[in-house]
């Protein structure tokens, strides 16, 4: 294992990328971090993830693994001698996978708040988001983490979304803490972990970037573009003409 070469291709505001960073840190793994300039994807990214052309991609001894939850499971299986992320019991593992996959949908709902085409869509999406966060609070119960006593796979999957909370709250004028205090208590608990504080971007800088993307895409209340159009625009290479100035987080390696 000591000769393992690990490279992570990432874009620091990505909540999916944050998951992988946290998993690597939890396992105490040394890796090379490479920041992707998203309007200008590297040949390596395009080669390692030809299907989606997206970050994060973990390259382990030259072999790529894509899709953040799959990467986290991979990391857990390969380095199974330390800091287990998933439970060993198959039923509890299945529950963990369920909630991790549920947390994927938060980004999709969040997009509809940020890049909505009218106030009704923002309010509807805000309510949908709160419903989802409350369901997650229910799953957390009275435990310190979703993994119970131990920080694990679901915590890793979900905590990246925290980077976007300030953006959602500002765009739709509400407070997640007021509605889901238990969840925010969980967030604060997670932020005390070095693996998390090292891997999450500042939510206020992420907000500024979201605003820049909005201006870049000409989005907001005055346009008729739906969130899905936004998503597919960002994924289209043709769309990228000119660059958005991206503020790197201090201390990025």
């Amino acid at each position: 294992m000591s000769n393992d070469e690990l490279i992570l291709l990432n874009y620091w505001p990505s909540l999916f990328g944050a998951r992988v960073r946290i998993a690597l840190e939890e396992k105490g793994l040394k890796y090379e971090y490479r920041e992707e300039d998203l309007p200008n994807k590297s040949p390596l990214l395009l080669e390692m993830n030809p299907v989606y052309k997206k970050i994060p991609v973990l390259i382990h001894n030259g072999k790529p693994i894509c899709e953040s939850n799959i990467i986290a499971q991979y990391i857990d299986e390969v380095w199974n001698d330390r800091a287990p992320l998933l439970p060993s019991d198959p039923y509890e593992k299945a529950q963990a996978r369920f909630w991790a996959s549920y947390s994927d949908k938060i980004r999709d709902v969040g997009w509809k708040i940020t890049y909505r085409k009218n106030n009704e869509e923002a309010v509807e999406s805000k309510n949908e988001l709160l419903e989802m966060l409350k369901a997650l609070e229910g799953a957390l119960g009275d435990e310190p983490y979703f993994g119970g006593e131990n920080f694990g796979y679901v915590d890793i999957s979900l905590i990246g979304c925290y980077m976007m909370f300030y953006t959602y709250e500002t765009y739709a004028n509400f407070s997640i803490e007021a509605e889901c205090p238990k969840l925010i208590a969980w967030v604060k608990r997670c932020l005390e972990r070095k693996s998390v504080s090292k891997s999450l971007g500042d939510p206020k800088i992420v907000y500024e970037i979201a605003v820049e993307w909005g201006k870049r895409l000409g989005l907001g209340l005055s346009t008729s573009l739906s969130a899905c159009t936004v998503l597919s625009s960002l994924e289209s290479e043709d769309f990228w003409r000119g660059r958005v100035k991206i503020n790197k987080r201090d201390g990025d390696h």
Binding site: K63, I65, C66, K93, S224
Partner: protein
């Protein structure tokens, strides 16, 4: 082998391909189970209790404990009953398997299914998207291999190869083209290789029944969409 007094129950709907994929997994593992047919127009309290988040079939109950979402159910089955493994042992190969199963579900099957719920331009967009991703899936299949992972049936096969049958039904009802004979020969061979496996063929609902059911379903959806369009729209 599973210990004695295992109770396995499956809550399903005869016409659901997701339920079918779970039945395939149970069949390949030789697991005995009780099947409960669900009326999707009037969901049972049992379904709502065991799948409160999505309220959908399939739901697998193992000694009373519920599991939902077909891909996760199949993973659970594979991890709990070790005979006839469906996933590779090697973590890298397993990650690749999960990747392609997820791709097949999210990028091929989802837009195909979406197209069935849409009309006009929105439908065309879904069909176009499905075709594009089916071509990617085609390129992921290796020439000359019987199944997705090689010569043994596995996770991606049972998670997704049923889409060939459903694609044909959608093509017939919507008068669209999803499977291109010229551009997707490997996909077509793969669909057939999987569904022709005797154990899996036994579980397939008759195509005629599926067709009739979905024709009725489509008429219902179109009528509902037409009713909605006569009301002033506030959204998209």
């Amino acid at each position: 082998m599973a210990p004695e007094k295992e109770l396995v129950q499956l809550i399903g709907f005869w016409g659901s391909p997701y339920v079918l994929s779970v039945r395939w997994a149970l069949k390949l593992k030789g697991i005995e189970y009780e099947y409960h047919e669900e009326n999707l127009l009037k969901k049972s309290p049992l379904l709502l209790q065991y799948n409160p988040v999505y309220k959908k079939v399939p739901v697998l109950l193992h000694n009373g404990k519920p599991l939902v979402e077909s891909l996760m159910i199949i993973q659970y089955i594979d991890e709990t009953w070790k005979q006839n493994p469906l996933q590779p042992q090697d973590p890298y190969e397993r990650a690749k398997t999960l990747f392609w199963a997820k791709f097949a579900h999210e990028k091929c099957i989802a837009p195909m299914v979406s197209s069935f719920f849409k009309i006009g331009e929105e439908q065309e967009k879904c069909v176009k998207e499905a075709c594009e991703h089916l071509r990617t899936l085609e390129s992921a299949l290796e020439e000359g291999k019987r199944f997705f992972g090689g010569e043994t049936i596995g996770f991606v096969d049972i998670a997704a190869a049923w889409m060939g049958c459903w694609a044909r039904i959608i093509e017939e009802i919507l008068s669209v083209k999803l499977i291109d004979e010229e551009k997707m020969p490997r996909l077509i061979a793969w669909f057939s290789n999987v569904v022709e496996v005797p154990a899996l063929k036994e579980c397939m609902p008759p195509t005629q029944n599926l067709l009739e059911h979905n024709i009725k379903f489509r008429k219902f959806l179109v009528a509902a969409a037409e009713r909605l369009q006569s009301v002033p729209l506030t959204g998209n």
